[in-house]
């Protein structure tokens, strides 16, 4: 296999938290030393609880946020220190789908204008061809091309998400970050959008990062899963392996807290219930971030953050699996 589409090395991003000028400056470490790569036509699902830095990770890879440390490679080219102008040709190939289809569309643009806009910016096709392409795209995402003159408010949530996807596809991207693409949608509509994203991927060999907290939806669409906790990647590997035999104690708890939609299963009784909640990302515990809630926690865990290490076909950052 050639160069992966996206390779990320030791990525770090933190935000300064406002305090009075006398106070010590405080930082939220949203993304802390994250490394992974994505091959062509593959999906990496990023899961974790709110505040674990999964959305920040997606945005930093697209350089919506400038990373502090580490490197981002797109097909082998280092994007980390490129200026906005130098980024321009790469932006075309790296796109994003947003969470809220109600907030991410301009209410004053018709659907046609909205889907055509990215192509105008990149001076693709002539005016007539562009409109043809818009109709084509609308058909690809399952919208009626006759609705080209309509405004976003005339569409339902699921249809709006389709408009967002059509707009993203207009530039023939090779890589798309989907930030919670299903969470604003009803259950029956979620399945439609998952199918659509999978169909597009199979046809056009696009790579995705899907950021979501709905663990079931991510499982279906992803080839690989990365589990984040307080800015760190604690486990990453093939989706089937992670879901069937999670190794990291946090992954175990996360997977077992999915309510099973099956009355015949054992249910809540034999579940690994986590105590307490995620600590504040401002004061991340020293050593392993999960040590405060982990029942296997030892002295060693509180001292040093374990590195991601190969274990049973995936990578885990936990002292239990260090060789």
């Amino acid at each position: 296999m050639g160069e992966p589409v996206i390779r990320v090395e030791h990525l770090k991003k933190s935000f300064r938290v406002k305090g009075s000028f006398l106070e010590k400056k405080q930082y939220v470490r949203a993304v802390n030393d994250v490394s992974f790569s994505i091959e062509k036509g593959e999906t990496l699902g990023i899961v974790g609880e709110s505040g674990c830095g999964k959305s920040t990770l997606g945005r930093t890879i697209l350089k919506i946020y400038q990373p502090e440390e580490g490197h981002i490679y797109f097909e082998g080219t280092d994007l980390t220190d490129l200026s906005e102008k130098q980024m321009h040709p790469y932006r075309k190939k790296m796109q994003m789908i947003f969470q809220d289809p109600y907030a991410s569309l301009n209410p004053r643009f018709t659907v046609g204008e909205m889907i055509a806009e990215p192509m105008e910016i990149y001076r693709m096709y002539g005016r007539k061809e562009r409109m043809e392409r818009v109709r084509e795209l609308m058909e690809v995402v399952g919208l009626k091309p006759d609705h080209i003159q309509r405004y976003p408010h005339e569409f339902s949530g699921g249809q709006r998400q389709r408009i967002g996807i059509a707009r993203t596809l207009a530039l023939n991207p090779e890589f798309i970050v989907c930030d919670e693409p299903f969470s604003a949608l009803d259950v029956s509509i979620q399945a439609q959008i998952i199918n659509l994203l999978e169909k597009i991927q199979d046809e056009q060999k696009i790579s995705y990062i899907v950021v979501a907290h709905n663990l079931n939806a991510v499982r279906h669409i992803s080839h690989n899963i990365g589990v984040m906790y307080l800015g760190r990647l604690v486990e990453i590997g093939p989706a089937a392996k992670i879901y069937s035999e999670p190794l990291h104690p946090y992954t175990k708890a996360l997977i077992s807290s999915i309510p099973a939609a099956d009355p015949n299963s054992a249910g809540m009784m034999d579940r690994v219930l986590l105590e307490g909640e995620v600590p504040s990302p401002i004061n991340v515990p020293a050593g392993c971030p999960f040590s405060t809630r982990c029942k296997y926690c030892t002295e060693k865990c509180r001292e040093r953050m374990p590195e991601l290490a190969e274990a049973d076909g995936r990578k885990v950052a936990c002292v239990l699996f260090q060789s």
């Binding site: 709110s50 259950v187 029956s188 199918n195 079931n216 807290s257 309510p259 909640e277």
Partner: protein, 354 residues
């Protein structure tokens, strides 16, 4: 019916309309169900299916432009429905009665714990308010009770926590406080509207367990509104499936999951992503939920149903009963007396026009 499970809440033919600029929205149409004591019932449906509105109607908390047009709500032998209360005086006495019931007999837990608590009042003040109003006890007694309740829902050092403001608590903690407050006056019924939707999965698991323990421990009945079939499967005894303002199917959890009748329920169950399984296209329900402004005569689901017949578009199906608990309204199961149903509906339409 044995003495353990007697009828607590019986809703019959509940119909709620909202008048809006665009016209009348028929948010809930002819909903009937029953909750017995010590039961947990889940109401499942997509947004706009009328699940929250039905509950607000039970509590008489509908927005100003909404009203109960028809139907009765019997709670523990008392009629709660405001239908037919026209004059101001009637409305006032009704509201007075409802105030004694809300919080005392029926406790409520809402979806968003971030907005439900008052940000400028201490947790202690908010928790004791209801206790003092309903239980007629002193400040100290109410405080004692609040401490005990917080302990029960798993909040450490409750004495100190009662002196804190909502912003000092995380989302899961706030939801625990709200559950504690809802159970403070030992209500007979707990209504929880999407209690875990705003929470993370690991916290959701904690809260579901807490609800189950409190409900089973205190002998309270509960009505849980959710769109997550996983939540109901784990927590509830019975399920009510709503679509477009109507109940399409109801039954025990096992009946709904194992002997699914209505095409909509089938679609919902199939569209859940199974945790195990290969990357084959998911089943899905085509189309989008109905516009409640434009209601047709027939079945609400007919435009998205893969089994839709001619009759579905023209006439409403009747409720078919399969077992003591399990019933479903779909033409697939009531074709035998179609003739009679069609005639009845034709007559109704003529009457309402004439």
């Amino acid at each position: 019916m044995d003495s353990l499970h007697r009828e607590l809440l019986k809703v019959e033919n509940l119909t709620v309309d909202f008048s809006t600029k665009q016209g009348t929205v028929h948010a809930v149409r002819g909903v009937s169900f029953q909750i017995n004591t010590r039961e947990i019932i889940g109401i499942v449906g997509e947004s706009g299916s009328g699940k929250s509105v039905s509950m607000l109607a039970v509590m008489n908390l509908l927005a100003g432009n909404g009203q109960i047009v028809r139907g009765s709500i019997r709670f523990d032998g008392q009629e709660l429905s405001a239908a037919g209360k026209k004059t101001k005086a009637e409305k006032r006495t009704h509201e007075k009665m409802m105030r004694d019931i809300r919080g005392r007999e029926i406790g409520m837990v809402f979806q968003d714990p971030m907005t439900y608590l008052n940000p400028v009042l201490k947790i202690g003040t908010q928790m004791t308010e209801g206790i003092r109003k309903h239980m007629k006890c002193s400040r100290a007694e109410a405080h004692q009770r609040a401490v005990k309740l917080l302990e029960q829902v798993g909040i450490p050092s409750p004495e100190q926590r009662l002196k804190q403001y909502p912003y000092e608590f995380s989302g899961g903690m706030r939801q625990r406080i709200i559950i504690a407050a809802a159970l403070a006056c030992e209500p007979k019924l707990l209504i929880a509207d999407e209690p875990t939707t705003a929470l993370d999965v690991t916290v959701q698991a904690q809260i579901l367990k807490l609800i189950e323990q409190s409900v089973k421990g205190m002998g309270v009945s509960a009505l849980v509104i959710t769109h997550d079939l996983g939540v109901v499967a784990e927590l509830c005894d019975k399920i009510i499936i709503m679509y477009g303002g109507e109940i399409v199917e109801q039954g025990t959890v096992k009946e709904i999951f194992n002997e699914t009748k209505h095409p909509y329920t089938k679609g919902l169950l199939e569209s859940i992503e199974k945790v195990e399984g290969e990357r084959t296209p998911l089943h899905y329900i085509p189309g989008t939920p109905p516009n409640l402004l434009l209601m047709n005569h027939g079945c609400t689901f007919c435009n998205r149903c893969d089994k839709a017949m001619k009759i579905c578009r023209e006439y409403k199906p009747a409720v078919t009963v399969f077992s003591e608990e399990h019933s479903c309204s779909c033409w697939l199961y009531c074709r035998d007396n179609a003739q009679q149903l069609v005639e009845e509906q034709e007559k109704e339409r003529r009457d309402s026009h004439g």
